[in-house]
């Protein structure tokens, strides 16, 4: 098997990138509809069911409506920052998809492939870096509209993202130490056990709990959707956005939600491993287990939204700094102590 030439490598990476991008985009499009339907059923309503069979074309209708709406920019807005903010937000959202593996390795044209754009040795750190860049979209969106509600909303959202980013990063440290690697694929394979109790969600349950709560806050989902607190902030940082630039901010939020779900599957739920003895985790089946796990986590996000009320702002800060971060730090000490006493090497 000769090694791939540069152009072949570029073509292969491009194809994988297209597949990953397309899958995420389609998932996002239908996620808006699924969320509204599931939420409606939880509240004894029907939800959007008019456009196409059981309403499945609703997102496309929404997209067309958004594109044909007038784009309004406040007269006092800072023009360039106002236009750049949604682009920054969505750029950061899509960039972090690059290092995540989607499903097991598979064979095609006699070679082994992985549905992953770039297999970086520092994969998790890269995601952390891109997440920290995502704050700029929100800060700029809030500031540039020159409106006190958007400024307050932007400050709140970015303070929230800051605070919970720390807990999010700390919750990864334990599993990174256990796998002794930053590569996402290594972390997935480290969880491959005979039974699903070897998944990080069970072995490192405190880390998983911290991760999931912090991820909810990081992507502004209920109960941490403070930007949506319309009685106090109208619509937070995106109050002044209309038409498709509002649409871009929405896409970024949903893509972020999908990213944290896929990451939770990879880092804590054993990725594509079935977790049940004698059930294969290889190429065709692994994709199914992977998709089921991601779907489950996305469902939990919707479920939470249908169940929980919103946090107050001071409660949010108190919980992030005085509960999540200490728990995550203590858990790092526990894992480090265990590895120092009983670990190999």
């Amino acid at each position: 098997m000769p090694p791939l030439t540069l152009w072949q490598q570029l073509a292969a990476s491009g194809a994988i990138a297209l597949v990953v991008f397309g899958a995420n985009f389609l998932l996002f499009v239908h996620m808006t509809w699924i969320e509204r339907r599931v939420l409606a059923f939880m509240q004894f309503r029907l939800g959007p069911n008019r456009v196409g069979p059981i309403g499945i074309f609703q997102p496309w209708a929404d997209a067309i409506k958004l594109m044909f709406k007038e784009e309004v920019m406040p007269a006092a807005a800072n023009k360039w920052a106002f236009l750049a903010a949604p682009v920054l937000a969505i750029g950061a959202a899509f960039l972090s998809l690059a290092v995540i593996p989607y499903g097991p390795p598979f064979t095609l044209f006699g070679r082994e492939w992985q549905l992953q754009v770039a297999d970086l040795g520092v994969g998790i750190l890269y995601i952390f870096a891109i997440t920290s860049l995502g704050v700029y979209g929100i800060v700029l969106a809030g500031w540039s509209a020159n409106n006190k509600f958007t400024l307050l909303g932007g400050l709140r959202s970015s303070a929230q993202m800051f605070s919970y980013e720390l807990a999010l990063g700390l919750s990864w440290v334990g599993i990174i130490m256990a796998a002794s690697s930053f590569r996402v694929v290594d972390i997935v394979n480290q969880q491959a056990g005979w039974f699903f109790l070897s998944w990080n969600a069970f072995v490192q349950f405190p880390a998983f709990a911290v991760y999931f709560i912090a991820a909810c806050a990081e992507v502004s989902r209920t109960p941490f959707d403070l930007p949506e607190g319309e009685t106090e902030l109208v619509a937070g940082f995106h109050t002044e956005y209309s038409s498709m630039s509002f649409g871009l901010l929405q896409i970024a939020e949903y893509i972020n939600m999908i990213t944290v779900s896929v990451l939770a599957t990879n880092l804590f739920l054993g990725g594509w491993h079935s977790g049940i003895p004698y059930i294969p985790s290889g190429a065709p089946f692994g994709f199914l287990w992977f998709a089921l796990k991601v779907a489950f986590i996305l469902f939990v996000f919707i479920w939470l939204r249908g169940t929980l009320p919103r946090f107050r702002y001071d409660q949010l800060m108190h919980f992030g700094w005085k509960v999540l971060i200490p728990v995550a730090t203590l858990w790092i000490l526990v894992v480090a102590g265990y590895l120092a006493l009983f670990g190999q090497r």
């Binding site: 040795g121 750190l125 870096a129 920290s132 860049l133 700029y136 400050l155 800051f162």
Partner: protein, 168 residues
């Protein structure tokens, strides 16, 4: 993945050009917000150059620490204090002279190092993976420097908490 020389060089020049251009924007235009944004672009293209040099770890840390954390605080301060465009010219002469002197000093330093080094074969690629970096950082040569830096950061952290604490 290692890139062939031409592509490597092309990417290097691309990011170098972006870094220099955005660094010029930082100092040449007068709106503090745009300066801060241009500085973020500079830091990100420096990170790309670190990546091209074969150290994704340093590249990512550059973004996490500088572009992700330090610059967000800069932006916060600029936005909250609503810093206006600086149009006033008072006291600019002295500052310009000091700045020019410092710049000349830096150019002389870097230039002297480059001249003394002279042309030579490219050095072997340093394995800058996370594991190797950690081994170097925690080796006896750097351990005390590393720990001293940690204590410095801890002191700054404690100082920030003390300053931010409300008097009760």
């Amino acid at each position: 993945m290692t890139l062939p020389g031409t592509l490597d060089a092309a990417l290097f020049w691309l990011f170098a050009a972006i870094a220099v251009a955005s660094a010029l924007v930082v100092i040449l235009q007068r709106s503090p917000l745009y300066s801060a944004l241009a500085l973020i672009v500079t830091l990100c293209s420096l990170s790309a150059i670190y990546g091209l040099l074969g150290s994704p770890f340093i590249a990512v840390l550059q973004i996490v620490v500088y572009a992700g954390a330090v610059m967000v605080l800069f932006l916060f301060v600029i936005m909250l204090l609503n810093v206006k465009r600086e149009d006033h010219e008072s006291g600019q002469g002295v500052m310009k002279a000091v700045g020019a002197m410092l710049a000349a000093l830096l150019v002389a330093q870097v230039g002297s190092v480059l001249v003394r080094a002279g042309p030579r074969a490219p050095s072997p690629r340093f394995d800058a993976s996370t594991y190797e970096m950690a081994k170097v950082l925690f080796s006896p040569y750097f351990l005390y420097v590393f720990e001293a830096t940690s204590i410095l950061i801890l002191a700054a952290l404690v100082g920030a908490v003390v300053l931010a604490r409300k008097e009760t």
